[in-house]
């Protein structure tokens, strides 16, 4: 290898390092997320929910989804099975038999403070809005990593459409911008749902627990789970009895991939240097080299 070759290689190494800066996110990731106090969310009081499924209806109407039948006879049948949200249902009510009788639990996107789905998205189609809503956008490429990265299994994909979308609750982001309450909160007849800033609803939750320590267990689901969520739940029985996972931990999900992301810039800069070094070190004497060059063509 002559000097010119060497410079070329060096050049590509530098180019590599430069692209590395562009493509390596470690530093930006270290930035703080906006203060969780400004996020808006919903306090769900499962002791108040009567399982009428009006929120399901309101949600479907507002979001242009198939309108569900919420007659009492229908409900009785439907609630026998535990359901999941789907690509046509952003929110659903489940009924659990517990030590304190039947308990109804609304389930939908938790609007995590630091959402796994947002960290997963390579085109920022999933976004955490400054006011807390986690929304989906049309520039999505449909890789479905958000579904894999959501600890609550919330984003759903339209598998049977040629032009599919990711479907999930967006906390009625458009309505929020127009100063209107989320549809589910608006239609709830028992005020089981309360919309407010995370600080407000957290305080309200604590107040209710303090005022009624016999009624509630002393745990607000979402206060610390997966780094905190903007949906908070109150319950009269331990949360695992009403379909919540207790094994999710309090670490924000994006943190699980930071180890790898931090390593990327180092590898990008060090690897080429190390390899170039080895390459130079294994270089043989002049004659050997010529021999080698000739062989290289074989």
């Amino acid at each position: 290898m002559d000097r010119r070759n060497f410079l070329k290689i060096l050049g590509s190494g530098v180019a590599g390092a430069a692209t590395g800066n562009l493509l390596t996110p470690g530093r930006t990731l270290a930035k703080e997320t906006p203060s969780a106090k400004e996020f808006y969310g919903i306090l769900v009081d499962t002791t108040r929910c009567i399982g009428c499924r009006r929120c399901e209806l309101g949600c479907a109407e507002v979001n242009g989804l198939p309108v569900p039948d919420i007659s009492e006879s229908k409900n009785e049948n439907l609630l026998k099975t535990i359901r999941k949200t789907s690509d046509t249902q952003y929110t659903i009510i489940n009924r659990y038999e517990t030590e304190k009788g039947k308990i109804f639990v609304p389930k939908r996107c938790m609007h995590c403070n630091q959402p796994g789905c947002v960290a997963a998205c390579l085109v920022k189609a999933m976004r955490k809005r400054p006011s807390g809503q986690v929304t989906w956008d049309l520039n999505c490429i449909g890789c479905r990593l958000c579904m894999i990265s959501c600890p609550f299994d919330i984003p759903k994909f339209e598998y049977n459409k040629a032009i599919p979308r990711i479907q999930k609750c967006n906390l009625c982001y458009d309505r929020y911008n127009n100063g209107v309450l989320p549809a589910c909160v608006e239609v709830c007849p028992t005020q089981a749902l309360m919309f407010g800033s995370r600080k407000q609803i957290l305080e309200e939750g604590k107040r209710r627990i303090a005022a009624n320590p016999d009624k509630y267990i002393e745990h607000i689901y979402g206060e610390y789970e997966v780094g905190g969520t903007s949906h908070l739940y109150l319950s009269s029985v331990p949360f695992e009895q009403i379909g919540f996972r207790k094994d999710l931990g309090t670490v924000a999900y994006p943190k699980y991939s930071t180890g790898f992301l931090y390593a990327v810039p180092f590898i990008f800069v060090l690897w080429p240097i190390v390899m170039l070094g080895i390459n130079r070190a294994t270089k043989k004497s002049k004659e050997d080299e010529e021999h080698h060059e000739e062989k290289e063509k074989h």
């Binding site: 190494g13 493509l23 996110p25 085109v123 699980y256 991939s257 080429p272 390459n279």
Partner: protein, 422 residues
């Protein structure tokens, strides 16, 4: 595949000199000539593969018309990723790892012994990325947006997937540059050959760096599935496991592919190559054995570190041991004994076992032990059309590989002018 031999004999005779291409017209005529099939068309391989490929293309149209779900695939809300990501992309990329490993050995460590197989391996790696990683286009629900991570202003720069996408793309360019001297020789473009040849080392170093990152990056994609992957498989070190396993996965594929190529294209190889080949296999087996040993060691440490030992005594635990003992430990021992006794049959068999193990491992992460708590009846299982499309993609790659090997100096000696010293 007996018919292939006839084909190759003809070419060796015909391939005395390089074409003389001066302008676009020449190039076009040359390409037209080269595109014509040579030798026997009705070989058993062709007769079997062609219908599968065509069927696959029809199903691809169905997938585009009806969406990603049924009837084409069995993907569902519980299992967003299935065979196409798990096998075509994630396993395919691990298998393509042979290219970066050999480039490291040959160009960085300058172990000349392995030089005879570098071109075929790089070509294979490049095509694997083009086709298998290319299969991602089918799997991506909103494929018309595929350029979004490359162009635009909405970059999810903090996303592992963003890095993987870019690294795939850049690596394909690097692999193309690594292979390009062969194309220049085929076209008889001497000046270009010289320029491209000079770029090789740079491309190699860039390529290895990218490979290190995206091989491990594919593992990092699963990091946020912490609550869904069985604790025996989930560890903070998934990216490192993916990287280390890509070394022996890639080399096993090199051994496997080489043994087939040697049967099919054997006539293109000179004496010296045949003589050295067993030696090369033994060397590759040694590297596989060492990396597999390291991998096993790491796995054992992680088992303790993640407090996962108690899980071993469960159905999932047996499945884990089946994978680790049956498809890592045993082939590792076989590589060692095969290398000691210079027994290439053992080595080849070990390579096949290793490949099965890698397929199992990657599919475990994407759907087998992913959502492991879902009852068996609700588990994802690839649909027939999914399998056929996958087969069709692999066969198409084999056809392209064969076309290129038969026309370009991949296995056979480069033209005389390229061997001369400059």
């Amino acid at each position: 595949m007996a018919g292939e031999k006839l084909e190759t004999v003809e070419i060796v005779k015909e391939k005395g000199e390089s074409p003389n291409i001066k302008n676009l017209g020449d190039f076009w005529n040359f390409l037209k000539k080269e595109l014509v099939p040579r030798g026997h068309i009705a070989t058993p391989f062709n007769i079997i593969s062609l219908p599968i490929m065509l069927l696959g293309y029809v199903f691809i149209v169905l997938r585009l018309a009806y969406g990603l779900g049924k009837p084409v695939t069995n993907l569902n809300q519980e299992y967003p990723w299935g065979l196409w990501i798990g096998f075509d992309v994630v396993t395919g990329v691990a298998f393509a790892g042979g290219a970066y490993v050999l480039c490291f050995i040959v160009y960085v460590l300058r172990a000349e012994k392995y030089h005879p197989i570098i071109r075929a391996t790089v070509l294979n790696g490049f095509l694997a990325y083009l086709f298998y990683a290319g299969a991602i286009v089918l799997d991506i629900g909103r494929w018309w947006n595929i350029y979004n991570p490359m162009i635009g202003n909405n970059f999810g720069v903090n996303a592992v997937m963003f890095l993987v996408a870019w690294h795939f793309f850049l690596y394909m360019l690097a692999a193309l540059v690594e292979f390009s001297p062969t194309i220049a020789e085929w076209l008889g473009m001497k000046r270009l050959r010289k320029i491209l040849g000079a770029m090789t080392l740079g491309a190699v170093i860039f390529g290895i760096t990218l490979s290190t990152l995206h091989q491990s990056g594919l593992g990092a994609l699963m990091m946020m599935a912490k609550s869904k992957i069985h604790p025996l498989w989930y560890t903070d070190f998934i990216p490192i496991l993916y990287f280390v396993s890509s070394i022996f996965a890639g080399l096993s594929l090199v051994i496997f592919e080489g043994s087939i190529s040697h049967k099919v294209f054997g006539h293109q190889l000179d004496e010296a190559h045949h003589k050295h080949y067993d030696d090369i296999l033994v060397g590759l087996a040694r590297i596989c054995a060492v990396t597999m040993f390291g991998y096993l060691f790491l796995k054992a440490i992680l088992l303790v570190h993640e407090h996962a030992v108690p899980y071993l005594n469960s159905a999932m635990g047996f499945w884990y041991l089946f994978e680790v003992i049956g498809f890592i430990l045993i082939p590792c021992l076989m590589f060692i004994s095969g290398a000691q006794q210079k027994n290439t049959a053992t080595i080849k068999f070990a390579a096949i076992l290793t490949m099965v193990g890698i397929i199992l491992n990657r599919l475990n992460y994407t759907f087998i032990v992913y959502n492991w708590y879902v009852p068996l009846s609700e588990k994802y299982w690839p649909a027939p059309m999914e399998l056929i499309i996958t087969a069709s993609i692999i066969l198409t790659e084999v056809w392209v590989f064969r076309w290129m090997v038969n026309r370009m100096p991949v296995l056979r000696k480069p033209p005389a002018w390229a061997i001369e010293k400059h």
